[in-house]
């Protein structure tokens, strides 16, 4: 193709190309652009037809010019131009090529704009989504913070509401927090004032501070709680209180101990009340004993009087007899027998009525029961038959004999009261070994060897409701003024004190059976045992004897002198001291 003749160019046609280029920018899409361009280019001189093809595999033979729409690596197909007058067209060919390239550039810019717009839109969408997400997260966080704040307040309020003092410290003993009760006891207005302090900055005495910290360290080091530490506490106002403290380790998510949480309760008032209650209980128990003693005394008086009658009678006979005769000796022996029986009665009465501390001993229960039988018979009266069934080879038990007397007296008196008119009470002992299978049937029992004491009566029996409350202090089915309600509670207490257990089987109208299990005592050489045989000692030493009762003093002096002793006797302590001062030898 020869060089175009620019002198034949029409400004009008070039203006058309320029205008089309400008209008293109206002057209909405590629399809409209291609359609617009194809229609506009047909006005070019020498052009018969213009078509746009996206992908043209083969070009029509009549097409003389194929112009690709290509720019910036992008391709929008080709413009296929049918030339009807090549001579007329030739001057415009380079302008057309420029125009087509500009169309491609416009398309590329448009595409870029669209991509930018899409990116911008996507970006804005992402920004919007992220903003919404962040807003939601912020709202969630605010909610969580609000929830946390509410939980903290609730926790603080809860801690402040509990009557106990609550505190928690880190491993170094630095307070991390506490409730209002604790803060006030320590002399602070608000729990926050305690945070960061140690026990050494509290009003506690040095020794007690050390004790608290020792417990803290023990709980932290062993990762084990310490419960019910009964200890003193000095409050900020200087008052001394007794507290019951429980400390537990504080652990994090991994289980590592990072501190200790403590809760203590002021038990000062409770301790005072308990002491008072114990004192009153002792008084009541003593009163009950005395009541029993009173009843017993009535029974004993008759026998004692009989004994005195015998002593007086035989003494009269002896005085009338010649000393040394057989009848004289028999009278003296009867006097001695009656006096011994009187002494036995007196001893039993004293043993029962005596207020004494618990002194457990290795005891043969059969012997203990047997020694009480006469007194028990007197307690229950003549209309009730008392049967005694001692078990053979009974194992020893470790118990205060006086407590056995109390058990027997209380249960027997209760049995007597349950029997209207005549009936029977049976006391029975036996050995029993509880193993794993039988132990569970006894709710409080542990497997092992036990000595069983059973008191059975033929009385009116009890319903299940009465049995439920049977061992409660001050519970009684007896009329007002007839029972203290402490009898069975005392029995229960004694049994528990000696690590035994008690049970009852009863039905209305079918009597009651109380069964007490006491642990078998393995006898050890150093354990005190009851001396059942009197040992008779003789000697030549000098004994100082002081007794205000003239008759007893005289008798004792004679007995001691008969056993070889030299006796210095006095009725008053001052008199005794004077004798000691004057006596030259060893007393």
């Amino acid at each position: 193709m020869s060089e175009p003749d620019t002198s034949k160019l029409s400004a009008h046609v070039l203006g058309q190309l320029l205008l089309m280029q400008n209008v293109l920018c206002n057209l909405p899409n590629e399809q409209t652009i291609f359609s617009f361009v194809c229609r506009g280019l047909t006005d070019l001189p020498g052009v018969a037809e213009v078509n746009h093809v996206a992908t043209a595999k083969s070009v029509d033979a009549t097409v003389l010019l194929r112009l690709p729409l290509h720019a910036g690596g992008a391709h929008w197909g080709d413009l296929l131009i049918k030339i009807s007058d090549p001579v007329a067209f030739l001057p415009y060919e380079p302008y057309l090529k420029n125009f087509v390239f500009m169309v491609a550039v416009i398309l590329e810019e448009r595409q870029q704009r669209q991509l930018n717009a899409e990116h911008q839109s996507q970006l804005e969408q992402r920004v919007q989504e992220r903003t919404q997400q962040l807003t939601a997260e912020i709202n969630d966080r605010r909610k969580i913070e609000e929830e946390l704040r509410r939980s903290r307040n609730m926790l603080a309020h809860t801690f402040d509401s509990v009557p106990q003092a609550v505190f928690w410290k880190d491993r170094r003993g630095v307070y991390l927090g506490c409730n209002q009760v604790f803060a006030q006891a320590a002399g602070f207005d608000h729990p926050d004032a305690v945070v960061g302090k140690t026990d050494f900055e509290m009003p506690w005495p040095q020794a007690e501070t050390e004790a608290y910290r020792t417990d803290d360290r023990s709980v932290i080091d062993q990762n084990q709680p310490k419960r019910h530490i009964i200890e003193p506490l000095q409050q900020a106002d200087g008052t001394r209180r007794w507290i019951d403290t429980t400390k537990v380790p504080l652990t994090d998510e991994s289980g590592a101990v990072y501190g200790v949480l403590g809760v203590y309760e002021d038990i000062t008032d409770r301790r005072l009340a308990e002491a008072e209650r114990k004192r009153l209980e002792e008084q009541l128990t003593q009163a009950q004993k005395m009541e029993s003693v009173g009843r017993l005394a009535g029974g004993v008086a008759h026998d004692f009087n009989n004994m005195l009658q015998a002593i007086i009678g035989y003494a009269g006979l002896a005085l009338a007899d010649e000393p040394g005769t057989e009848t004289y000796k028999e009278s003296l022996e009867e006097i001695q027998k009656a006096a011994k029986r009187s002494a036995d009665l007196t001893h039993q009465l004293l043993a029962f009525a005596r207020k004494q501390t618990v002194s457990p001993k290795v005891l043969d229960l059969n012997e203990a029961v047997a020694s009480m039988l006469k007194m028990l018979q007197r307690l229950i009266g003549e209309n009730i038959q008392l049967a005694w069934l001692p078990g053979p080879g009974l194992w020893p038990v470790w118990v205060d004999p006086v407590q056995i007397d109390q058990i027997l007296a209380n249960l027997t008196v209760n049995a007597r009261d349950a029997i209207s008119g005549s009936g029977g009470i049976t006391i029975e002992t036996s050995n029993q070994t509880l193993d794993e299978r039988s132990a569970p049937f006894q709710s409080e029992a542990e497997p092992g060897d036990y000595v069983k004491l059973t008191i059975r009566d033929t009385g009116c029996g009890m319903d299940s409701e009465t049995q439920k409350h049977l061992f409660e202090p001050f519970f009684t089915t007896k009329p007002v003024g007839k029972g203290t309600g402490l009898g069975l509670a005392t029995v229960y207490g004694i049994v528990k004190q000696n690590h035994g257990f008690i049970s009852v089987q009863s039905e209305p109208g079918r009597g009651s059976t109380f069964t007490i299990h006491l642990q078998r005592c393995p006898i050890q050489p150093d354990m005190p045992t009851i001396v059942t045989e009197e040992s008779v000692n003789r000697g030549t030493e000098t004994v100082l004897l002081v007794e205000d009762e003239e008759l007893i003093l005289k008798l004792a002096r004679r007995i001691l002198e008969q056993h070889g002793y030299t006796v210095l006797s006095a009725r008053l302590p001052e008199e005794a001291l004077e004798m000691v001062a004057k006596f030259q030898g060893l007393i």
Binding site: L19, N26, T32, F36
Partner: protein
Amino acid sequence: MNHQKPTISLGFTGERFPAGVHICQIFSDDEEREEALLQYVQSGLETGERTSCFSDKAPPAVVSKHLACHGISYEERCGCGDLTMAKPKDIYFKNDRFDPDRMIEVLTKYHEDSVLEGYPAARVIGEMSPEIQHIPGGSRLLEYESRVSLLQRKHPVTCVCQYDARSFDGAMIMDVLKVHPLMVIRGAVVRNPFFVPPEAFLAG
């Protein structure tokens, strides 16, 4: 005696033109279209021309608000006949068909009445609805547009024809260019090199 036609302002361009020009605006941006429309109406009313607007996209509230900003009462101007607002359908597609003969008569009468009523000039702006492509008589659109150019020689009613490029095919837009001597490109009015004089166009 000076027989030169008086020049008028179109509002959307600083250039002045003799009354009775035929201009097309190919748009694909609604703001661009609305701005041209409002300024064209405003400038017509400001110079006392009788003004008509046939558009679906010129709500009275929008026009009223714009005019109020320039001290023109929409209600008053509509009341006295200075301003006519109508739907394209009611003007172009009466009886559900497009009739170029009727439209030419309407424009002729509009101009004649305006002159008789003492208006210094008359102007019209209308947006051609894409519906034209589907209703009876619609294929005579280009004939109508070409005849408007012919009409203006005797009745110099100034006409601005708005075409939404999003609603017409590219070839159709090129054809529309061929029957408008002037066109608006990016706010400027340019001579249209594609314009085919009506005699030639109508003869073709």
